[in-house]
Structure formats: C-alpha cells, structure tokens
Symmetry: C2
Subunit: 547 residues, 2 copies
C-alpha cells in the first residue's frame, strides 16, 4: 500500500528523539532563577541544576565515559542523585541506581553483571560499597572508578573511598558544552535491577522514549499542576523514583530531597516547603498515619499522593484521606517504569450506597494514558479471563513504557514477552467495569485444600483490626490441607492482640477457610522500598523457626 | 559504537505507534457512561462516541476507503466533525477538514489537489459543496462520494446532495470491529490546507506521532484537569481545532459543540454546561468582552482560555482577565499543528512595578513542552539574532509537532525546512529572557524611509484607543517614503473617532514615524478563524479603492 502521503522523509526539523533529557534545558530556560532542588540548607535554581548536569555529563566524558557505558550510583534522594538522572544519560552512558539497602554480595553481583565503569557513592554507603568491591575479582574491581558524594547534610563519620569527589568531577566538566540528546529514542537510559526475592536480580533496561512518555502520562493522569512542589520520598533507585524527578522537571516544579524518611521529616517538609505532590509505598503512608502527635504539623489539604509498591489496604487510603490527602492508588512493576495502571475514582460512587467503597479502593484499576493495554489472561493460552471479578488470571501489559528487556538475559526477556505482552507475574481478576484487582503474586497465592486463598485478601482483613499495624500472610505447609495461611503481625504502638483473637476476627470477616491457622507477632522484614520480604517469612517457616 | 544495551529489538509488548486514536478506546473504557459530546439537544456518552467512530471507520471501509485515501469534511464543530477526527484515520484514511468559509473555487482546488474520495458535508454547506463540485472536471467529480450530515440543530432549508447520509454510512459499519491503530506513527493523520493569502493554499500533512505529542504537551502546559468541560469554539478545520478534541478525549472530558459562534451562544454554553476550558482567536475574545448586556450570564471565575491565531492585543487579555478568565497566549501555525509556544507568566511580575505588563502580555514566549526548539534567526545564514529585544529575525522551529511536509509539493517542503528548521515566515525579536515577540509576518512588515515599522505594534497602539474595536495596519505605497502605514478601523458600537484624532493618538503613544498616514473606517474582512485578511486590504489599496 502506498499513497502520496508516503512521500515524506523525517528530517531534523520534524523529528526529534523523545527523551526526558529534553525537559531540563527547557525548564532551565523558562525558570532559570526559580527553586529547583531543596535539600536541607542546600538550594539550587534550575539554571544551577542545568549547569551542574552539563558539568556532570562532560566530566564523565573527561574520565572516559561514553555511549553504552554503565554508571552506577549508591545514594539516597539527594541533589546529586537527581542530577545523575540527567547528567549520566546526557554523557551517552546508562544510569544504574542501586538500592542502598542491598547486601554487599548483591551489590557486587550488580556491579559485575551491569559492567559498571563508574560508581558514585554517598559517604553513608561507602562501607557497603567497599565491602561489595572487595567481593569482586581484582580485575573487575579495578575497572571501576569510584566517586564520593560528600553531602553537607550527611552527619555520619564515614570517610571517602573514591579517587575523587563528585564536586571534583563536576570541576572537570564544562557547563558551556552543548546538551546532547540521544541519536535514537530507543537508546538505553537507565538500568534498574529488580529487588530479587529468591533468584539473582535481573537488570531491567529503560529507554529514552519510555521515560519521556512515562512523564507525559503521569502528568495527564496525576500531576495536574504547573510548578508542583514535590517531596521525593520514593527512592530514585526504585524505578528511578517512578520517573517523578523527570516529571517534576517537565513541569518546572521543585524537588524537595530527604536523606531519612521519618514521619517527622515528612510532616516538616510538607509544612515548611508547601509540598503539593508526593509518592510513597503504603508503608510510608502508614508512617504518616501513625505519626506521634509531637511530629505532626498543620498541613494543607488536597496534597496529591501517589501510592504503589504494594496493594495499599483500603483503611490506609481512607485514613490518609481523613488527614486531607488526595490519594491515587496506582500499580506497576520495575519492568513497566513504575506505575502503569491507576484506580480512577468515579464521583458517582460517593453518592451510591450500593457501592462497596473498600472494594473500589482496593482495585488497581485501568491502564494509564501511556500504557496501550492492560489485560488479565490465562498465562498459557493468552485468552483473557471473563470480566466477572472472580476468575483469576495473570496481568499482562503492552505499551511504550515496557522495558527494552533484561540486560544480558535474552531467555528471561523472551519469556517475559511471550505472546506479545509483558507478563507481570501478578494474579488478578477483572471486574465487569474493566478494573483489575490483584489477588496475589503468582508465587504468593496459597492453595489450601484445592482452594486458592489470596494472601492479599487475608492481609486486608487483618488490617481492619484496630490493633494491627502491618500484616503479612504466606503459605505454611500443612499435612491435611497442603498449605494454610500463616500471618505475621506488627501491632500498633501500645496495642495488643492475641493469636486467637485475630484468627476469630478473620473468621468473622471473611470466608472461614481463608483464616490464618497461625499468627506470629514480629517485626516484618522489608525491602528498602517498603515491600514486605515474604521470601524471608517463607524461609523462617521452611527452616522450622515457625511451627 | 555498540554495547550490550543495543541487543534489544522492539516488539509488540514494548513498542506501540503513538497515535491520538489511542485516547478514545481508553476513555470509553474508563468513562463509558459519562458525557462526551453535547450539541444542542443531542448528547453522546463516551461508549456511544466510540461505537459511532468504529461504525464510521468500518462504514468507510465498506465503501472502499482505506490506507492513504483522503476523506474531506465540510462542517461546523458538531459531533460528526469530532467523530471524523477519530473514525476517518482509524479506517487508514487521512482526514481533510476544509474551512467552511472558503469560496467554491478554492474548495474545488483543495478537493482536486487533495485527491478527495469521500466528501462529508453538513447541509448548511451543501450549496457551497455543490458549487465546488460543479467547478471540477466530470472525471474528478465522479471520483467523490458525497455523504450528507443532517444535523437536528441545523435550522436552514438546504437539501441533501449526497448519495447517502452520515447515519446511513454508520449503519453500514460495525461497532464490534476492532479499533485499528496505524502500523507506523509517522503515517499521515490529517491534511490541512493553509488559509492562503495570495498563493494557492498548501496542504499541510500531520502525522499520528505529532498529534499524540501535541495532546500530551497541551496537557502538561495548559489542560491541567481531569475531565475538562471544553467549549469547542476553535473550528476543527483550523489545525484540527488546535488538536483540542483529541486532548479532551485523552482527559476524559466533555466537548460542547457550537454551530454558531456568537457572544450569546458562548455565555450560554459556559453557564449552562459548566465550561472549564476554551480556545479562541482574539476576535472571539473581543466578542465576549463586547457582548451586549442582555447576552451576558453569570459565569465561574478561572475558566482557562487559550488564545492564538493572531497576536492578542494586551488590552484584550486584560479585559478578559477582569471578567475572570485565565488567558494563556500561545502561538503557532498550521504547519506546527497549532500552538507550539506559550507566554509563561511569572508570578513575580505581579509585584514588580518595573515590569511593563503590556509588553509581557504581548510576547509569544517560549517553546511548549512538545516542541524541541524555537529560535529567531537570520533567515539566510540561520545565525540566531542576539537576545536584545530589538534585532528582528525569522522565527524557526524544530520538533515532533512540525508537519511531515506539504502534500505533493516537495519544493515548498524543502524550502520550509531549509537548514534543518521549519521557517515560520514570522518576524520577531528575542528578549534577554529568551521570550520571543512577533513583530510581523515577513510580508506584513512596513518599510518606511528605510525604517522597519511593525504593523502589529501600530495595531496594538490603536487598540489602546477607547473607541477602537479592531485595527488592521498594512503598507501603502508612498512616493516619498516608499511605504507608509495605512490603518483600517472598526469602531466600537456607538463610539466615534476621526482620522486626525487616531493619527494624533498614535503620535502621542509611539515613535512618530510609525503613525499611520491614512485611516479608513470600515468592516475589516476576516477569515473563518478570525484572522484579518490583510491581503484583501492591500488589494483595496493596490486597486485604488483607498487613496
């Protein structure tokens, strides 16, 4: 098929590769003197951030970094971490932000597998970085140039481990060099390793096109504001902080950094800096809800909160809303650049007594604007499940905010993309209105006497109990039933409950066969991003620590 | 340069062509029962609009339309016009929305040059369409299938001219057929003929990628609202209504249609339908400002207004703001899908007495998010002019919302893209803060005694006079000076002024040599989109009608 409409080639005037790197020069040109990043006593304007990012980019080139090299960073959400999200890819390199809570062995694996050439390390994590490097072969280790970040807001005693510090690297750069976009929007932008539960972490590769569209879709679905004031709680090493620092740059806003994430720090930042938007895992929202009175501050109503990372218990959303926050529940994975579905709330539900508000709040919802399609299918046949709210299938995705693939792992990549969709590994139902609701991770479903029990559902029931602060439910082997639910519980400060009381509570509030057969009161292990580490709970069961 | 990051191919899971056609199925799935289009007594929900667009798409296929065919439409902003923006390209065809105020001869030229296969005509324009067809050769004419739109809100007496009506075409279609996106985001989406001043109109070809990004950028820079209620005043035949009906669909909003654009209709629509956003040329804003008291209604404050099409006089913006509207002044051309720059207002200017507010309001500003670059250059050397607010150069653009090119006109295309930028033909200065301000069209500058006189500046001065409703200034030949400014004036209702009074007013308010030497009181001819037809004024001068 041809037509006269085909007689046009793309050219410099009408085709530009999509990249979030475009956002920075534009915002620096429109708002040069406006606040861009706030961190403790440090302040940067957009022209300063742009100049520093150009220095970072050209400084990296000066030390031999270029197209397709990997630059890793181990840092909290500080200005240098934001700058790395622009300056590193502008050099042609790929940014690999590493989860700071990982153990040295895993970090060593990531540095090695990711072919790291430069490792930028905040002093707080210098010992971890040193330990990781020590685990590598000398040949591998000597390929890595270490750069220290010496943050004035860091109050620990660790000392430098690098060959130069970050400001020294910037001094090598030139802020007058032109800002370079990628030649191709499909070029790699960042490398994000999955948290890894039982297996080795996999390296998820993002491209420029995807992160550009992620930002645009995040604006159209959530960040409806010019010059938002954003509190950076979502770690930038987690899906690049859901892409939010690129998005805030697009919107000419302010990024407020945090080293420590505590209820006091959050309330202070919101009150002192007029925060309008923030993101956080449900555990961070619980931190806000359960803050000590002395840490609470008077804050504005209507602050927009995006939450994801784990299905938020409806009670958490309701309590946040009663504090005046406006919560949007989204869902996604590292492989989808973060959030790709959102739980659109319909105003008419507010006035309809037949609507089960908790059920509505618990759903992961519908595709965001930048995702082409979400569906729930039989993983093998790819046939969609009926939209009956009951039949469980796997959530699959298709769209421009799906990763390029797993770094140096073509088998895992083709498995993940089987049938032309990305397979999330999450089990869900599709409701008659098309909204998707996660029932469990493929590996987290509990099969008891032939019945599927959703650990998420049992957890949601436990969260309704007044004494429960956090609940994690996993399968426990059982001679009679095959598997039964075992609940791990953190109680609220000063609250109390017994095992029997919680089991009876579950029996009263859900199908009896789904109730936990065992309740353990303990601190639940979590990842840096607030996800409960269920593999650790399973290990405790399998090692016989729980009986 | 290669790296392991290059080892990824795009696939169905992670690459989807960008297209505004994506917006419709998503919004229809999230908001199936919500209002989508309002037109007089007619109401359509999003599921209805989607069903009708699928019927239009498949109905067109039934009558032989497919990839690369041209489907033209001659209609006001009615539901069928909105549907055509989705249903026509979904069939693989290219939508050619024709300016309804054009003369039959020009329309015949467009139908012929555009290779029209189907012409969809609202009854109001049936006589014009018939006259146009009659001017074509019988061979050309017989290739065109005519479809009538019989709008219940049309109260004229014209009768059908087509082989079937629009609803009959929909009846041939199938709303269960899958919705098809283009294979390639670079495929042609629409064909928009420039208004054409002295030359034949040129056919500007838009692609799917461009219109998708236009919508996303319009959201991030302006439409900060889920479910906006949009009043469709900008004719959809003008840059596809600045892309707004795609953008409103993306945001799940409501499109309120209008057959006639009058102050009464605008106030009624705003008040009755809770309008939150609208676009309009400055002349439409003047209509609102100068409305009769009996046509005014009480309306909400903070309604967002996007204005473009001609530089809005600062007084118009100020008067709109005093009525409670929130006006954004943007600029662009048919070749850039409409608006690509915006005049970002800085709050600090509100409190700074040294700021010349009128100057600030008059500027076209900075690049919008979807445009990569705007600059002002010497047209020949492509060297940027200094950012001094004085040196005049040509505005040039580079970005993804620049047309594919001119249809069947490679010479004009390559001329427009000379040097890797699109040449706007508009003359401007660049201020020290990077904001661009148009001084004139290349052909509208008046060269008097070797000095450049900006007709825009003279017009802005005349607009400050209390009696002036509209001013148009063009060059008039002069033996001594070469050219001198000649002003055409429409007075406000009931107001009066003399030629001498206006010339003296200009002498007092601007450099004396720029004052008009001649003032003519008359109705100024305008295009359908409210642009003053200066070529007509020049013709009057050249033909000796003005002395």
């Amino acid at each position: 098929m041809t037509s006269p409409y085909d007689d046009f080639a793309t050219g410099a005037a009408n085709f530009v590769p999509l990249s979030p790197l475009s956002f920075l020069p534009r915002t620096a040109s429109i708002y040069p003197d406006d606040e861009a990043i706030i961190h403790g006593k440090r302040r940067y304007s957009w022209s300063q951030v742009f100049a520093r990012c150009r220095r970072l980019s050209t400084g990296l080139k000066q030390i031999g970094i270029g197209y397709g090299d990997t630059v890793s960073i181990l840092a909290p959400n500080i200005p240098e971490m934001v700058e790395a999200h622009f300056g590193v890819p502008a050099s042609g390199a790929v940014l690999n932000a590493i989860n700071t809570r990982l153990d040295p062995e895993t970090i060593a694996y990531i540095l090695s597998h990711g072919e790291c050439k430069v490792l930028i390390v905040d002093l707080e994590f210098a010992p971890t970085a040193s330990a990781a490097i020590a685990l590598m072969t000398p040949d591998e280790a000597k390929k890595i140039t270490i750069i220290d970040i010496i943050d004035s807001e860091y109050d620990g005693k660790n000392t430098s481990i690098g060959t130069m510090d970050y400001e020294g690297l910037l001094a090598k750069g030139n802020e007058d060099d032109p800002w370079q976009l990628p030649d191709n929007e499909w070029n790699a932008l960042t490398l994000n390793y999955t948290s890894g539960t039982t297996n080795r972490p996999k390296g998820v590769v993002y491209h420029h096109r995807g992160s550009y569209l992620m930002s645009m879709g995040t604006v159209s679905d959530w960040m409806h504001a010019q010059k938002p004031r954003y509190l950076a709680l979502v770690p930038l090493f987690h899906c690049n902080g859901w892409g939010h620092s690129w998005t805030v740059t697009l919107m000419g806003g302010v990024i407020v950094c945090t080293r420590a994430i505590t209820a006091k720090a959050i309330f202070d930042a919101i009150a002192d800096h007029g925060i309008t938007h923030l993101g956080g895992a449900p555990i961070v929202l619980s931190m806000i809800i359960n803050a000590e009175d002395s840490h609470r501050r008077e804050i504005a109503r209507g602050i927009k909160v995006m939450t994801a990372g784990a299905p938020p218990p409806p009670s958490v959303i309701r309590e946040m809303e009663s504090l005046g926050f406006d919560v949007l529940h989204v869902y996604g994975l590292t492989e989808t650049y973060g959030h790709v579905t959102l739980n659109v709330w319909h105003d008419k539900w507010d006035h309809d007594e037949t609507v089960n508000r908790d059920l509505m709040l618990a759903r992961q919802g519908v595709a965001m604007a930048m995702l082409e399609e979400q569906d729930v299918v039989d993983s093998q046949t790819m046939i969609p499940v009926p939209a009956d709210g009951e039949t469980i299938g796997e959530i699959v995705f298709r769209g421009n905010t799906v990763m390029k693939g797993y770094f140096k792992n073509p088998e895992a990549t083709s498995e993940a993309f089987a049938g032309g969709y990305f397979h999330s590994g999450d089990l869900a139902v599709k409701h008659p209105d098309g909204y998707v609701q996660i029932k469990d991770r493929l590996k987290d479903i509990i099969i008891s006497g032939g019945e599927n029990i959703s650990s998420v559902e049992v957890e949601a029931t436990l969260h309704k109990h007044a004494s429960v602060a956090l609940a994690a439910v996993v399968a426990m082997p059982d001679e009679k039933w095959g598997e039964v639910p075992c609940a791990f519980i953190e109680l609220k400060d000063g609250a109390s409950a017994t095992e029997e009381e919680l089991i009876n509570f579950c029996r009263e509030h859900m199908a009896s066969f789904k109730r936990p057969k065992k309740v353990v009161f303990t601190d639940i292990p979590k990842t840096a991003t607030g996800k409960m580490q269920k593999f650790e709970l399973r290990r405790m069961i399998n090692d016989g620590e729980i009986r």
